[in-house]
């Protein structure tokens, strides 16, 4: 077993430990209140935060991004290194946002499933075989469904969970169908051998294309690329605010890690042209549709769902450019990291507005926020500006580096995409600036200011994320 999946194994052990601890704790016994901010029910949240922090720290002190090793099922390289950092970052931020809002009866299961889900991301980052890619994808999607379905007394939440469950089962079956074609071509599930076999004469021109298109469709569902994005706005709207932040972060990391793993071994010479063109089309349509549909949304969660679709488009363009140049996907990793911080910051801030994570939030509900919570409003403004990509925030570097890679790769398709990316990023400014202007509108009527849950850590996550985004601009990360 190689070092790259050790943090995943440790997270899995911690997750199982939390589940066992839940069996013997008395917290679940009282069923009087579903959510509570008493210290006892947040115990599991703290344990899970500590577990993530300790495992992240221990692993980071010994790992390096340049070590390359493989043992058949797993590899250790650039992607596994940065993928593990991304997973830990997403996990730590999500635990802060969700603090105090976990269903009291299922507190141990909630955090146990969360740690299992993060271990799935790490398996995915280190996967070197079709079986481990699938294992990682399932280890992410099954706990995600469980987390979504935990709000049992909430009809909209259950509907969202069911919708996600059935569609993710469909996506998994598409992946398996594509994987079975690849196995049929190569006679093995090892990714290196598959690249060699798919390019040989014996495979013929059709089968590798069919396989890759099926797999790309499945991954496009995970990353919410148009036209596989339809579930995202509904799931975001139906579920609670913290869970919507999970849906924005985790499946996206999973999908892009799997995509980089599956396409990364193959350079452009071996990738069928049809797959290249369909990836580019996916990126173009995703950027345009995501940004344009976000313009007409009045529900904040729906708007953020379409904004997450739009960011998928930019990320896809980055993947495509890195494939064209045959470089390691550093720009994609940076964009994902910046996206995680921006999204966590904005959701953490929104969580403090209502105090009730289940309530629907329209754009007008944001009014008057600046007079009630001036500091959090300022932090949210920074996060929103970063989502636009204006200078003095990390979002600027993230977009700039992707655009630079795309222009460097310079073929007709990518140059066109670069133009579309610039235009759609300008369109995106409209709805993000609308949100900022609503935040600073003075208004008498507003949603309840009384918090039913403890939102102090959400507020902390929001402020910390915005600070990180500004610091990041002055100390840009180069990988």
């Amino acid at each position: 077993m190689i070092a790259s999946i050790m943090p995943g194994v440790a997270l899995m052990a911690a997750g199982l430990f939390l589940l066992i601890l839940g069996m013997f704790s008395k917290v679940g016994a009282s069923q009087s209140s579903e959510t509570s901010s008493t210290p006892s029910s947040d115990l599991f949240g703290w344990i899970s935060f500590l577990a993530i922090a300790i495992i992240w720290g221990v692993w980071a002190s010994s790992a390096s991004s340049t070590t390359v090793a493989a043992d058949g099922l797993f590899r250790q390289d650039f992607v596994s290194y940065w993928g593990t950092h991304l997973s830990m970052l997403a996990g730590a931020l999500f635990v802060l946002i969700v603090h105090g809002t976990t269903p009291r009866r299922f507190a141990s299961e909630f955090h146990g499933c969360l740690l299992l889900l993060l271990s799935g991301l790490i398996v995915l980052a280190a996967a070197n075989d079709l079986t481990t890619v699938f294992l990682g994808l399932e280890l992410v999607s099954i706990p995600t469904t469980i987390l979504l379905a935990m709000s049992r007394d909430d009809k909209a939440g259950l509907e969202a969970a069911l919708k996600y469950f059935s569609l993710s089962a469909l996506a998994s079956s598409l992946f398996l169908m594509g994987a079975s074609y690849l196995y049929g071509i190569a006679g093995t599930t090892s990714l290196d051998a598959i690249v060699a076999a798919a390019t040989s004469e014996a495979a013929g021109p059709i089968l590798p294309q069919v396989a890759m298109v099926l797999i790309l469709a499945s991954l496009a569902f995970r990353i919410t690329a148009v036209p596989f994005h339809y579930y995202a706005p509904d799931v975001f709207t139906g579920t609670s605010l913290p869970m919507a932040s999970l849906m924005a972060m985790i499946p996206k990391i999973a999908g892009f890690l799997a995509m980089i793993r599956l396409l990364g071994g193959s350079t452009l010479e071996v990738m069928p042209t049809s797959v290249y063109v369909s990836l580019a089309t996916l990126a173009l349509v995703t950027m345009i549709v995501g940004n344009v549909l976000a313009l007409v949304q009045v529900d904040v969660k729906r708007l953020l769902a379409y904004s997450s679709v739009a960011h998928t488009g930019y990320l896809l363009l980055g993947v495509l450019a890195c494939l064209t140049l045959s470089t390691s996907p550093g720009v994609v990793m940076i964009y994902l990291a910046a996206y995680l911080v921006m999204t966590a910051g904005i959701f953490g801030g929104l969580n403090t507005i209502t105090g009730d994570p289940k309530v629907a939030l329209s754009l007008n509900d944001l009014q008057g926020m600046s007079s009630r919570r001036p500091w959090i409003t300022f932090a949210m403004t920074i996060c929103l500006l970063s989502l636009i990509g204006v200078p003095l925030t990390a979002g600027f570097w993230a977009k700039f580096q992707i655009l630079l890679t795309v222009v460097t790769a310079s073929n007709v398709l990518l140059s066109t995409s670069a133009v579309v990316m610039t235009i759609t990023a300008a369109i995106a400014a409209v709805y993000y600036l609308t949100m900022i202007s609503k935040l600073y509108t003075v208004s008498e009527s507003s949603v309840a200011t009384q918090s039913v849950v403890n939102v102090r850590l959400s507020a902390l996550a929001c402020v910390a994320c915005s600070a990180l985004l500004v610091v990041w601009f002055f100390l840009p990360l180069k990988v």
């Binding site: 199982l16 589940l19 066992i20 069996m23 013997f24």
Partner: protein, 126 residues
């Protein structure tokens, strides 16, 4: 391709038969509805209540638990068959494979204890 010609004829005949038998009744069949005819058909028996009854969730829990042990057995079989046979697990790999199997079995045991503690086996909760 000539040797596939009979299959083409067969294909046309099959699709044609299905299409004709679907369309013809709509054109020529008489329609006289009686109360008995309009009853939902349920294996020849009289319908006595709504088909959509709530079913106790415990049945599903039992089914899932059955699956736990079913899958466990499925994975134990290859191990048992290939353990000492010819071309099976090499002698110096038997130790690690044994450890892996023990980890697998204890994970399932943990799932069993978890279900037990959650009260799945109490058919009527106290």
């Amino acid at each position: 391709m000539a040797e596939y010609f009979p299959i083409l004829i067969y294909l046309v005949a099959v699709i044609g038969f299905a299409a004709v038998s679907l369309i013809m009744p709509h054109l020529v069949a008489p329609r006289k509805s009686t109360p008995v005819k309009d009853m939902p058909y349920e294996s020849g028996m009289d319908v006595h209540e709504d088909a959509r009854q709530p079913l106790d969730v415990k049945f599903y829990l039992m089914a899932i638990l059955f699956l736990v042990f079913d899958v466990e057995l499925l994975f134990l079989y290859p191990w048992a068959v290939s353990l000492k046979g010819e071309g099976g697990v090499p002698v110096d790999h038997r130790g690690p494979v044994f450890v892996v199997m023990m980890v697998f079995i204890s994970t399932l045991g943990l799932a069993y204890v978890y279900a037990w503690k959650k009260g799945v086996f109490e058919w009527r909760p106290k």
